[in-house]
């Protein structure tokens, strides 16, 4: 991931932002708002990942088109019939509604991609570790175990292949299943053996002897609070302004977007603006040297 200003804020700030962005995206059906959310999400994702996310964005397009076109097949409400499919009317209103749903879906996908890039597992633990300490340790240990198991599984498969017991070489399905089961059981044995050592290591370091505290990598700064205040203010404006609802079927009824829309756009642009601001500051400081 590239250097990103918003990711450097406290996990709580990040989390509240995504809560707002994704929450609004789910409940608001106004097309302008949906469009803004998609644009904001796509822009930030591009800033975060650069070209790497191009494939993902391109891959989403046909999915979105399909979802939009799919809806009128089942939903036949609406006044303007475009054509009939299997004897059922295919209406303009239903198509618009399908597009709105597809847009909501796209916006959620985009914001969730940004979310997973920004709020890494350790930030998540930092946020929720205090609420449920035992569970957060469990999550950390599982995260540690998964790459281990994958590596060991590969090791076992390679080792068995090099003595002629590879899975691919047994022809019948039954043999393949049998071979797979054996590898799995060996892997389990191995993991259990390892977990005994891990348990020893935990006890040796005093696990369970005192009320645990937690190491904090992140601290709320003044900047965090300021950004948080801005976010809350903008979100409140969006809610206060209202006019976010829209009717598609049986008649299209979309209110004119007002100043609430501007607040919404500003809210969604927060991470991208911060990213841009940092880039500009950097460029300026370089040019001074």
């Amino acid at each position: 991931m590239r250097s990103d200003a918003f990711s450097k804020y406290h996990p709580l700030t990040n989390f509240v932002f995504f809560l707002g962005a994704i929450g609004f995206a789910v409940v608001i059906q106004h097309p302008a708002y949906i469009g803004a959310s998609c644009v904001g999400g796509a822009l930030y994702l591009l800033l975060l990942k650069g070209r790497k996310c191009r494939n993902m964005l391109l891959g989403m397009l046909p999915l979105v088109v399909l979802m939009a076109a799919w809806n009128p097949l089942f939903n036949t409400y609406g006044e303007h019939v475009l054509f009939t499919v299997f004897g059922r009317p295919y209406t303009l209103e239903a198509l618009c509604y399908g597009m709105a749903i597809a847009g909501i879906f796209a916006a959620m996908m985009l914001w969730f991609s940004c979310y997973s890039a920004v709020l890494t597992s350790d930030k998540f633990i930092c946020l929720f570790g205090k609420l449920i300490p035992a569970l957060s340790l469990l999550i950390v240990m599982v995260l540690r175990m998964i790459p281990n198991l994958v590596r060991r599984g590969k090791q076992i498969l390679d080792a068995r292949k090099s003595i002629g017991k590879g899975v691919g070489e047994n022809n019948s399905l039954k043999q393949k299943l049998h071979g797979g089961m054996q590898v799995l059981s060996a892997l389990t044995d191995w993991a259990l053996e390892g977990s005994i050592v891990t348990a020893d290591s935990m006890r040796a370091r005093g696990y369970g002897t005192a009320r645990p505290t937690s190491f904090r990598l992140y601290h709320m700064t003044l900047q965090d609070w300021a950004l948080l205040a801005w976010m809350v203010l903008l979100a409140a404006l969006v809610i206060a302004a209202g006019g976010t609802g829209a009717e598609y079927t049986p008649q299209i009824d979309i209110p004119r977007p007002g100043w609430g829309f501007i607040a919404y756009c500003l809210y969604l642009m927060i991470p991208s603006l911060l990213h841009g601001k940092e880039a500009v500051q950097w460029a300026v400081s370089i040019s001074r040297i």
Binding site: S121, D122, L137, V140, M141, L143, R144, P147, N148, R151, R152, Q155, I156, D158, A159, R160, K161, S162, I163, G164, K165, G166, G168, E169, Q182, V183, S185, A186, D189, W190, E193, G194, S195, V197, T198, D200, S201, M202, R203, A204, R205, G206, Y207, G208, T209, A210, R211, P212, T213, S214, F215, R216, L217
Partner: protein, 553 residues
């Protein structure tokens, strides 16, 4: 502060085997650096685990352990966790969390240290151990040496008074092991932490120790300075003598009686002192080395190129090698360079994207899988555990072959007959290695590939392994071995190759190979090169020493 006192400790496992500790009494003063050594199964680990009650095994026990005058049972668990640091053998399984910084903080979190104080202590430790640059990384992305260093640092963050290390470097390559040992010595010297350490490879730590304690069959056999212990082991003709550093072994094998040299420098002083005014008439070992016919090689590789990922670096770069039939061919070289990959390419697990491999004169590509791994090629992986899939050794062997006679013969060759009914996961490192070797041998290979076969083995198991390999060679099996163990290769290999930069650079007999190298060579060679030529083992040095002293020609 950090003063440990063990009094008449006797312990018997509840499984009813012979007592594992018999009347052990040992005092370790504050700030001392004590090495505990002994053959596998002599009770070293059992003793260490008694020094921390939460790790103590179940069984019958008498005697007591005191830390600074307080019996361990009377100390709180929290106190023990903080004051007694314990680093175990396996770098991987000791790590609890997924991030480096979290692992460093884990012990302090458990002890309930105030977050502010914790921040400082973690920062301190990270700087002291040079971990800052990988502080935020995932544990999974670290090398074995880094993982073990992380284990040490996360223990040291709790500021223990005594540090106990149970074979901490047996899973590491020699360079990483040496780094780790330097750090331990630094902790001892700069922080004054008392150190108690067990280790197979004494070469690196013997000269650093204040005291060496030798255990055998649950008793303390010797407890003295490194020099005195060396002398004692020689007098008793004890099997542990083979584990001592090469200078000491050469010294006593050459018939000397005093207190011997324990470092290469002292060894060289001893040799130059003796031959200062004496002519060296026989500068080179006389024993002939085996030669192998060039024709009809067991394995021939030409111009191999391989990489794991499309955009990744090339691991093998134009690698070419010829392995003569019937030889024990060793490949040595740095860590993570691609030596294991080379073996995988030889047995068809990795497929090079360019180049040719011929096995017994036939291209590897033309072999069908069932023909290739039956009576032809087999590989023993670096971690023998990855070969075991059943609950007893015998069942595991039966998976390969149904004929009881063959299984019995192989079990006898590999010296595992008493272990057949045991669970392979319960065996010691050396036993697992031999059981895995037995499983591999049941495919009756003519070309056997071994990946780091001496990793984590003590000197006696190494000797056993060498005997098995010799027996196989006598049956016309060709062996290719990848190893870090320079001493083992010098003693037992027929040909040695240097692997560097994805290629095999040179191939020569061990004497000439190690005789020419000045850095990548054995301690015996480094110590004797100013007097003798091509003496690469302690035996070579001792033999030349005696021959020249007597003036034989």
């Amino acid at each position: 502060m950090g003063c440990l006192d063990i009094q008449n400790l006797t312990f018997e496992y509840s499984t009813g085997r012979e007592p594992s500790l018999r009347d052990v009494s040992l005092t370790i003063g504050k700030g001392e650096y004590v090495v505990l050594c002994g053959p596998s199964g002599s009770g070293k680990t059992t003793l260490l685990r008694h020094l921390k009650t939460m790790l103590t095994p179940y069984g019958k026990r008498s005697g007591a352990v005191y830390l600074d005058g307080t019996p361990l049972e009377r100390m709180t668990q929290k106190d023990q966790a903080a004051k007694i640091g314990f680093v175990m053998q396996n770098p991987e399984d000791q790590i609890v969390t997924d991030k480096v910084w979290h692992e460093l903080a884990f012990g302090l979190e458990c002890l309930g240290v105030d977050p502010k104080a914790m921040r400082l202590r973690v920062a301190e430790m990270a700087s002291y151990f040079g971990i800052q640059s990988w502080f935020q990384r995932d544990v999974a992305s670290l090398s074995g040496g880094q993982k073990q260093l992380l284990n040490l640092a996360s223990i040291m963050a709790m500021q223990p008074q005594i540090l106990i290390l149970d074979e901490p470097t047996s899973q590491l390559d020699p360079i990483a092991a040496s780094d780790f040992m330097n750090t331990v010595k630094k902790i001892n010297l700069e922080l004054g932490t008392t150190i108690l350490i067990t280790e197979h490879r004494l070469e690196d730590i013997y000269h650093r120790a204040d005291r060496v304690v030798v255990m055998d069959q649950g008793r303390i056999l010797a407890n003295d300075t490194p020099r005195k212990v060396g002398q004692l082991l020689w007098r008793q003709d004890h099997p542990m003598f083979a584990a001592l550093p090469a200078p000491l072994r050469a010294y006593y094998q050459a018939g000397e009686r005093g207190e011997g040299p324990i470092t290469v420098r002292e060894g060289r002083d001893w040799l130059t002192g003796t031959f200062e005014n004496r002519p060296v008439t026989i500068p080179e070992p006389a024993r002939g080395e085996k030669t192998f016919p060039e024709k009809d090689p067991a394995l021939k590789a030409k111009g191999l190129w391989f990489r794991y990922e499309k955009d990744g670096p090339d691991v093998l770069q134009d690698l070419s090698v010829t392995v003569p039939r019937g030889s024990l061919f060793a490949i040595v070289g740095g860590n993570g360079e691609g030596k294991s990959t080379t073996l995988k390419a030889f047995c068809g697990v990795c497929k090079p994207y360019r180049g040719k491999i011929e096995i017994f004169g036939r291209p590897l590509r033309e072999y069908k899988a069932d023909r290739l791994y039956k009576n032809c090629v087999a590989m023993l992986p670096q971690d023998p555990k990855s070969l075991f899939v059943k609950s007893t050794v015998l069942e595991d062997l039966r998976e390969m072959c149904r004929e009881p006679e063959k299984i019995e013969a192989v079990a006898r060759t590999c010296n595992i007959v008493p272990l057949l009914d045991a669970n392979p996961q319960d065996l010691s490192g050396g036993e697992q290695q031999r059981a895995a070797l037995a499983k591999v041998l049941l495919t009756e290979p003519k070309l056997l590939l071994l990946d780091e076969p001496t990793k984590g083995l003590d000197s006696m198991f190494k000797k056993q392994l060498a005997d098995i390999l010799r027996a196989l060679q006598a049956r016309d099996v060709t062996i290719v071995m990848v190893s870090h163990d320079v001493e083992f290769c010098a003693e037992y290999a027929d040909l040695v190759s240097m692997f560097f930069g994805g290629q095999i650079l040179t191939t020569d007999t061990p004497r000439r190979f190690f005789g020419q190298n000045s850095f990548y060579t054995t301690a015996a060679s480094r110590m004797s090169r100013c007097i003798f030529r091509n003496a690469v083992t302690a035996e070579d040095v001792a033999e030349l020493y005696l021959a020249n002293l007597e003036g034989r020609s």
